[in-house]
């Protein structure tokens, strides 16, 4: 897929670019940070493995229909709240998250509710938190960030209610 290729090019391009800057600072700095990065990688792999392989099982026991059910056409703040819960509970990657959002839009879900769902999914979908954020970041930071993020899907829904449809 070309988007994935583009991402890889940008990603490794940035690595090379930043690597060049580090190399200019001297080979010691450069080698030290390469070793550091490689060690981080080795340390992170078991946890990524657990996350990637494990989240497939977690996703398999949370069927998508359950999530879609929470995103029903009941509007208002109760609908927003259940959309936020649904966003956090959605298993799988971006395809599933956005597809559920699209299905909800087409089957009569309110726009503010779908916005709340997408924003909540982006902020704290449990699978991304488990799979990516906790292995890489200090756990204290992750929980703190998630807790601080809770109001924002609601705020996004409120803004959506005020400024209206796209």
């Amino acid at each position: 897929m070309s988007a994935a290729l583009l991402i890889d090019i940008l990603l490794w391009g940035s690595v090379v670019g930043v690597g060049l800057v580090a190399f200019r600072r001297g080979p010691t700095v450069f080698k030290a940070s390469l070793r550091e990065g490689a060690m981080d990688f080795i340390n992170i792999v078991p946890r990524i493995a657990l996350g990637v392989i494990g989240s497939g099982y977690i996703a398999a026991i949370i069927p998508q229909e359950v999530i879609t059910g929470w995103l029903g056409p009941d509007s208002g703040w109760l609908g927003v709240a259940s959309a936020v819960v649904a966003g956090a509970a959605t298993p799988g990657g971006p395809v599933i998250g956005f597809s559920i959002g699209t299905v909800a839009l087409k089957s009569g879900g309110g726009v503010p509710q779908v916005v709340a769902y997408v924003v909540a999914w982006a902020l704290f979908a449990f699978q991304r938190v488990i799979l990516w954020e906790i292995p890489f970041m200090p756990a204290r930071f992750v929980w703190f960030r998630c807790a601080v993020s809770v109001p924002f899907p609601f705020l996004a829904a409120a803004i959506a209610m005020v400024i209206g449809k796209p």
Partner: protein, 203 residues
């Protein structure tokens, strides 16, 4: 939450000492154990429902996913390590530290918005920023900005699936959120952990 050791967010004191305190180098923590238990229980439920074939199907699918992700994880780790090596610590703690004000939150937001790649870049780089002196507020602004207004996921997934109109409109709504989340994070953090913030004055 009680994880003060290597990743403490006030690292400004070791600006010139050689190897940084390991960023991700903690032994298997309780969150890993919780995840492992969750995975084991889920795998058990899948096995009861679909039998051994169901378990193996998911395993092979996820293993191929895993092998595809690995090179990107390596790139993300290298990027994080290189960035934390070349960024001058004092400058980072000045422009992204607890005293950086609104400007720090805006820089964090801008950085998150332009960062290339996916979670395999965003989290190692965010972790590197924390290690070289950014505070929770600016780092939260960066992570939230990456996830809400970063172009990577929007271009690759959201526009194709949800449509351009919805995506642009959703991003427009999200524009103020990273700065607000960072500000809220900073506000709460200072009240929750007054110590590290005070320690920063001495350096």
């Amino acid at each position: 939450m009680s994880d003060p050791s290597p990743n403490s967010p006030a690292p400004a004191e070791d600006a010139e000492s050689e190897p940084r305190p390991g960023r991700v180098r903690k032994p298997i923590g309780w969150s890993t154990i919780i995840i492992a238990v969750l995975v084991a229980v889920s795998a058990g439920l899948v096995w009861r429902r679909d039998g051994t074939d169901g378990v193996l199907d998911i395993l092979t699918h996820d293993l191929s996913l895993f092998s595809g992700i690995l090179p990107r994880v390596l790139a993300g780790c290298l990027l994080g390590a290189l960035i934390s090596e070349i960024l001058p610590h004092e400058k980072v703690s000045r422009s992204l530290g607890p005293k950086s004000g609104l400007m720090g939150l805006l820089i964090g937001t801008a950085f998150g918005a332009i960062l290339p790649g996916g979670p395999f870049t965003a989290y190692p780089v965010a972790s590197a920023l924390l290690a070289v002196g950014a505070d929770f507020g600016a780092t939260i602004a960066m992570v939230v900005s990456w996830t809400l207004i970063g172009y990577g996921r929007a271009v690759a997934w959201e526009i194709p699936i949800m449509g351009t109109d919805f995506t642009l409109w959703r991003i427009l709504i999200s524009l103020p959120l990273p700065v607000l989340a960072g500000a809220l994070g900073r506000f709460v953090y200072i009240r929750l952990y007054p110590k590290p913030a005070a320690k920063d004055d001495e350096t």
